[in-house]
């Protein structure tokens, strides 16, 4: 492989990984934007999404076979189910805490995270589940640079979801309401906006995006484990902060930046691949010092 090949391949790797990070980071950023909560349970919703997708896929693969149609179908159903789970969590755990000090609701989020991951651990007995769809390894081969069709499908569906979200937030009345609540909740109430319903909707969208990423990860990597939400949760949070937490385009950009950093961090000469996280988290620290609001974050109060 020539140096150019390596650069191109790592670019592709980084973009694929980055689209996972971006999808999960969106949920963090939306929830933070609207109620200023770092929802630590978000990574676990990604994990639950993967498991729900697996259950649905095994149930419907009898009807549709293990085809692309079955995968898309299980992804959509898993998004709905986990979206609802997100709304329930918000209703039961977060809404009663909205007026409490910020730290209390943060701790509640940690508790929800533990309940989800340990719950799935209890159900699955701590076992790894093989999500084996045996998708073909075929793809586009440019000499030494290779992108499989599965990877292409991942990037395309992630981008599609992000475009839909962008349009929803910026072009619809509900999106306008979300942006308004991010600025001033009390004023929104006075204007007759049903604040609680819009917050619930935000959780629904954020959670279902995480579920989509979870199902994609299951299909692509081929295994599910109760702890799989932890690392990605941490990385997606980093991505959200890099992009500017609270900003939706920021989360997308942050995800891609982090993905690319990790891909190229692996390749840095003279040091082993174990240093890639040092580079990405090092950048996070630098950024927090130089521009604490992130790449696209604004210092003003508007955050959606």
């Amino acid at each position: 492989m020539s140096t150019l090949d390596i650069i191109l391949q790592q670019l592709a790797n980084g973009l694929i990984l980055g689209s996972f990070y971006a999808l999960v980071a969106l949920g963090y950023t939306m929830v933070y934007g609207i109620i200023k909560l770092l929802n630590f349970a978000h990574g676990d919703l990604y994990m639950v999404g993967g498991f729900v997708g697996f259950l649905i896929l095994s149930a419907i693969s009898g009807l549709l076979g293990e085809s692309w149609a079955a995968i898309v179908c299980s992804m959509v159903l898993s998004m709905l189910a986990v979206g609802l789970l997100g709304v329930i969590i918000q209703r039961v755990a977060y809404r009663p805490m909205l007026q409490a000090p910020r730290l209390s609701i943060l701790i509640t989020a940690l508790a929800v995270s533990m309940i989800l991951s340990n719950g799935v651990m209890a159900i699955t007995d701590g076992e790894y589940l093989a999500f084996n769809t045996d998708l073909s390894f075929d793809g586009l081969d440019f000499g030494n640079v290779f992108i499989s069709y599965t990877q292409l499908a991942l990037v395309v569906s992630a981008s599609l979801l992000m475009v839909i979200l962008y349009l929803f937030v910026n072009k619809t009345l509900y999106g306008k309401a979300m942006r308004a609540i991010a600025i001033d909740q009390d004023a929104c109430k006075l204007m007759g906006i049903n604040v609680n319903r819009i917050i619930a909707m935000t959780f629904f969208i954020g959670s279902s995006l995480a579920a989509a990423a979870g199902v994609m990860a299951g299909v692509y990597y081929g295994s599910l484990h109760f702890s799989m939400g932890f690392v990605i949760g941490l990385k997606a949070f980093t991505a959200a902060v890099i992009g500017g937490i609270g900003s939706i385009p920021g989360a997308m950009l942050g995800g891609l930046v982090l993905g690319l950093l990790e891909a190229f961090g692996t390749q840095i000469p003279f040091v082993g691949s174990e240093w890639k996280d040092v580079f990405s988290f090092g950048l996070l620290i630098l950024l927090l010092i130089l521009k604490p609001t992130g790449i696209l974050g604004k210092t003003e109060i508007e955050r959606m």
Partner: protein, 370 residues
């Protein structure tokens, strides 16, 4: 009347309790230290099941020195901190001996704790060479150590005409040790290690590492860590078009690896302590494991089973439950006939004769490589 009846009832219940207490005085407490939670819980539970199976069999045959074996489990979580807590818990609950030890990194700090208490510890699966130096003399390793595995690995690579080798580990005691020793041995033999890399535990995407490995054009990739992340690496290597030899260490010896990696695992080599299906002597063990637990035993079950049997054998030979006497008896073990082979110890309390075999994945199953 009513009150008197109640009193009688309470008294008899108390008496019953007391009798239970007395009965347990004739119990022989053996500790089990394995990960029953966390990422390696599957292997840990399998070992726990096997140890309990062995204990039941011993009890049915009359126990040890006329005493019934009862087991106490300490969960080490495959984590050094949790393991230290588990070991202290076992020591303070007055166990006569301990059987277990799966993750080398977690087992390492516990050796001193057992050593200080004088408690004999049969290390059933953990086999990092670091355990040899840390052994205070009360621990006994019945799995072949990393050195034996390195020899098996290097001779396979030589047979296959490998020149350039890539080694990937996970930064924990066990896999780093195996990777380092293989690297040393391979380079002293005049060959080249073109990539020596680390995968972070629990990270699913290894594509950037795969690209880096591919760019170094190795003839073989050797994964020295556990099956869960190993399966992902194998899958992503094959997906990216790496067609050459892939070998995995004994921590990856699990049917789960083949299940997760699917068709990508075809032809992958695995160095392994002998698992139940390749051991003629393990037929009865496999059968009773299946009847008791409704599943087939995993890779380290037979060793764990042997560990318990060896402990009981040593206590019988010692003729007492004095810890020092048991340690002495363990040390004097001479060709103990376990299902995994004959157990004798070197002066460093490691297995005198290696028990490693080479397996290859064929049709979604591990088969013996000829």
């Amino acid at each position: 009347m009513k009150t008197r009846k109640m009193t009688a009832l309470v008294t008899s219940a108390l008496a019953g309790l007391l009798m239970c207490g007395q009965a347990s005085a004739a119990d022989l407490k053996i500790g089990i230290m394995v990960p029953t939670t966390g990422s390696e819980a599957t292997a840990g539970k399998d070992m726990e099941n096997s140890i309990k199976l062995a204990a039941d069999e011993i009890n049915k045959a009359g126990g040890v020195l006329g005493m019934n074996i009862v087991t106490v489990t300490g969960d080490d979580g495959c984590d050094p901190q949790m393991a230290t807590a588990a070991a202290s818990k076992l020591v303070s609950s007055d166990v006569v001996g301990v059987v277990g030890g799966y993750c080398s990194g977690a087992t390492l700090p516990t050796l001193k704790i057992y050593g200080d208490a004088g408690t004999p510890f049969v290390v059933a699966a953990a086999n990092s060479t670091k355990l040899i130096d840390a052994n205070p003399g009360t621990s006994f390793q019945i799995n072949s150590t990393g050195f034996d595995q390195v020899n098996s690995a290097v001779s396979l690579f030589q047979d296959k005409g490998i020149k350039k080798l890539a080694i990937v580990h996970q930064g924990d005691g066990y896999s780093e040790d195996l990777a380092k020793l293989t690297k040393e041995k391979w380079t002293t033999m005049g060959h080249e290690v073109v990539a020596y890399e680390v995968v972070n535990k629990g990270e699913q995407d290894q594509s950037s590492l795969v690209t880096k490995i591919k760019s170094k054009a190795p003839d073989a990739v050797f994964w020295t860590a556990y099956y869960s992340d190993g399966a992902l690496l194998i899958k992503q290597l094959r997906q990216a078009g790496f067609r050459k030899l892939i070998a995995v260490g004994d921590g990856s010896n699990s049917p789960k690896l083949l299940e997760i990696a699917g068709k990508a695992a075809e032809g992958v080599f695995c160095f392994s302590n002998p698992t139940a299906e390749y051991l003629p002597a393990a037929k009865n063990y496999t059968a009773s494991y299946k009847t008791n637990y409704n599943q087939a035993p995993d890779a380290y079950g037979p060793l764990a089973y042997d560990g318990m049997k060896l402990m009981a054998d040593a206590i019988n030979r010692a003729g007492s439950i004095d810890k020092a006497a048991i340690v002495k008896a363990l040390k004097e073990t001479n060709a103990f006939n376990g299902i995994t082979g004959a157990v004798s110890f070197t002066d460093k309390n490691t297995l005198a004769k290696s028990n490693f075999v080479v397996l290859v994945a064929k049709g979604g199953k591990w088969t013996l490589n000829n």
